[in-house]
């Protein structure tokens, strides 16, 4: 992927965010008595500085040559993020933290260790045992020692 294109796109998004931030800060300043500093005073300075720095960064690309940015392993990262999202939703709406976390650990171990050239049944058994051992540790640490209720 072109670093220049991605960088400029991100900087534009940050500039837009800066504009929204300033407009919210201006609104926050409304109704402030004269001679006093409203809650938007400092944020306005920050917003202006942010936009200025972003513009300079964009202008710097005029002199620089483009580079290729490598996003290796994107499929694995996206798969992991998807698994985490499903885990969050299940935890929030269904509960059963310890069971869900055990499943999360087992699924992640299996996904990450799948390319290993070992017998799959052996790998799954190891993954199950490691997930179980880790969950036992988490249960004792958080439930029995720290009294945290999930």
């Amino acid at each position: 992927m072109s670093k220049k294109k991605l960088d400029i796109s991100i900087l534009v998004v940050i500039i837009l965010m800066g504009i929204y931030y300033i407009s919210t800060a201006v609104k926050a300043n409304e109704g402030t008595p004269e001679g006093e500093l409203g809650s938007g005073f400092f944020p306005i300075i920050l917003g202006v500085a942010l936009i200025s720095f972003c513009l300079v960064s964009i202008l710097k690309w005029l002199k620089k040559t483009d580079e290729i940015l490598h996003f290796d392993g994107m499929k694995k990262i996206l798969l992991t993020i998807s698994i985490i999202i499903v885990y969050f939703l299940a935890w929030e709406y269904i509960g059963y933290f310890y069971i869900l976390t055990f499943i999360l650990l087992f699924v992640l171990f299996t996904v990450f260790r799948w390319p290993l050239a070992i017998k799959k049944s052996r790998m799954i058994t190891v993954n199950l045992l490691v997930s179980l051992a880790l969950m036992a540790f988490i249960y004792v640490l958080f439930n029995n020692l720290m009294y945290i209720d999930f």
């Binding site: 991100i10 500093l37 005073f41 392993g73 992991t80 969050f88 992640l108 171990f109 990450f112 260790r113």
Partner: protein
């Protein structure tokens, strides 16, 4: 002191050292991830134990980094890169255990020296800090940020944007002056501001996890497993005392200066030891002076770096900013007031700090072999475990699912931003410094009533203002030199 407090502190130091050494030893994990993982535990601990635990992590990770640098030839932390130059050749030619012993002994002496610097300089510096008013505090905060952006970054613009984003993130929540909510988007969970633990985990743990996932998680590592006895004779120690002294002195001084940190101090110490050595040509080929100087320096930096936080309330690096977060979680604003109003806590921190260093020596002596064995563990086992502990840490800090979503969202954004050379370290530093900077700025503007004379009549303020201008000039000079070097390199490649 109550025996239960002593036990709690002892356990906290042990946990901190264990996690610090382990994470420091494992290449790719390191100090920031270790601190991020343990910070959430602070909520369920008393102030002293949690601060000592994080300081122990810092000390432990500094030594832990040298374990993989010596045994694997891969520095576990950036700070251990200088150690690797002589550590690995020494381990290959002579003995891995001796190389580790040089590293551990130097780290311990460096850590103790940094601790003494902290203890003896904190009182006079705090007394000086009490004379400072709002304008001076504002300038100190600004210098803290300018120094990291100017001295510690290759792209000053990206560093500045990261800092501004960190400051902006800290303005979310109730404004302390007016009591009105700002930038919360009517989200109740944001009314107290962004959860620092969610931020730290997102910026340091999640981004590191994504980075590891993007690589080969099943890579097998080979270590030098023979002769791991960490033992040094008195004669061997005497031979390297000069380099340890150089490292410890440089480390303590560099630690005090914001923006430099342990990475810079270990390289400065390595270069200084090489320059003053009788046989500099042996450096890089397994000279023990090349192991001890950077190791003494990076551990001495810890004590030095704590000095501006405890006396001025200004953290000089991201790791110290996270430790400042542990103070804030317990309702303590680090600075000269704490030193004067809560001397018991500060004295206990000083004593505990010395014990973390001694504890590091004991643990390093008896457990280095175990940490060495962990080095062969594949990342496919580590990543899910780290991820789950990070998620639990975020959730337990406020028992809020919202923080989990916040951490995940910010983690994804931060991963992309890191790829584009933005700095998550500067972001978190700015986040922690923001309350000091904003409060001081607003009070300063009100007090001055627009009169320039108000500032001109404050000599310390003027000195600090000149320092910040000098930092800006230095930053500009660095940028020009870097651009010239780049141009020259391009021309050379073209030829």
């Amino acid at each position: 002191m109550d025996i239960s407090v002593l036990i709690a502190c002892g356990v906290a130091i042990f946990v901190g050292l264990f996690v610090g050494m382990l994470m420091g030893a494992l290449p790719g994990l390191g100090l920031m991830l270790a601190i991020s993982l343990l910070l959430p535990l602070s909520y369920n601990m008393d102030a002293l134990s949690s601060i000592l635990m994080l300081l122990a992590v810092y000390q432990g990770a500094e030594y832990g980094g040298s374990i993989s640098a010596i045994l694997l030839g891969i520095p576990g932390t950036a700070m251990a890169a200088a150690t690797q130059l002589d550590g690995q050749p020494y381990a290959q030619k002579k003995s891995p255990g001796k190389a580790l012993a040089f590293s551990l002994t130097a780290s311990t002496i460096g850590g103790l020296f940094g601790g003494l610097v902290l203890i003896f300089l904190s009182k006079p510096l705090a007394a000086f800090a009490l004379k400072l008013g709002e304008p001076e505090y504002f300038m100190l905060g600004v210098i803290g940020l300018l120094a990291v952006a100017a001295l510690g970054s290759s792209d000053a613009m990206k560093a500045s944007i990261s800092i501004i984003l960190g400051l902006m993130a800290a303005t979310v929540g109730i404004d302390m002056f007016t009591g009105l909510p700002r930038f919360t988007g009517d989200i109740l969970e944001l009314s107290d501001g962004m959860n620092i633990i969610a931020l730290v985990v997102a910026l340091f743990a999640f981004t590191e996890i994504f980075k590891m996932i993007s690589g080969n998680l099943n890579k097998k590592r080979e270590i030098l497993a023979k002769d791991l006895k960490v033992k040094l004779t008195f004669k061997e120690l005497r031979g390297v005392t000069k380099s340890i002294g150089i490292g410890a002195t440089i480390g303590s001084i560099v630690g005090i200066i914001p923006g430099l940190g342990a990475n810079a101090s270990s390289w400065f110490a390595y270069m200084a030891a090489k320059k003053t050595a009788k046989n500099p040509e042996t450096f890089g080929k397994g000279n023990p002076d090349g192991i001890v100087a950077p190791e003494a320096a990076n551990n001495a930096t810890v004590g030095g770096a704590l000095l501006p936080l405890l006396t001025l309330g200004i953290p000089g690096s991201a790791s110290i900013a996270i430790i400042a977060g542990a103070f804030i979680i317990h309702g303590i604003q680090p600075g000269p007031q704490v030193l004067n109003n809560n001397p018991e806590l500060i004295n206990a921190i000083f004593i505990g700090f010395m014990f973390t260093t001694i504890g590091m020596y004991i643990m390093g002596k008896f457990m280095t072999g175990m940490f060495a064995k962990v080095l062969v563990l594949r990342e496919s086992f580590l990543v899910p475990a780290i991820l789950v502990f990070s998620l639990i840490g975020v959730y337990t800090s406020q028992n809020a699912h919202f923080d989990l979503w916040l951490a995940l969202g910010l983690g994804v954004v931060a991963y992309i931003l890191r790829k584009l050379d933005f700095s998550v370290a500067y972001f978190i530093l700015a986040f922690v410094l923001c309350p000091i900077i904003e409060t001081s700025l607003r009070r300063m503007v009100i007090l001055s009533q627009g009169e320039i004379g108000f500032y001109l009549n404050r000599p310390i303020f003027m000195v600090l203002a000149i320092i910040s201008v000098l930092i800006l000039i230095q930053s500009l000079r660095n940028t020009i030199i870097a651009n010239k070097n780049k141009k020259a390199m391009k021309e050379n490649t073209a030829i």
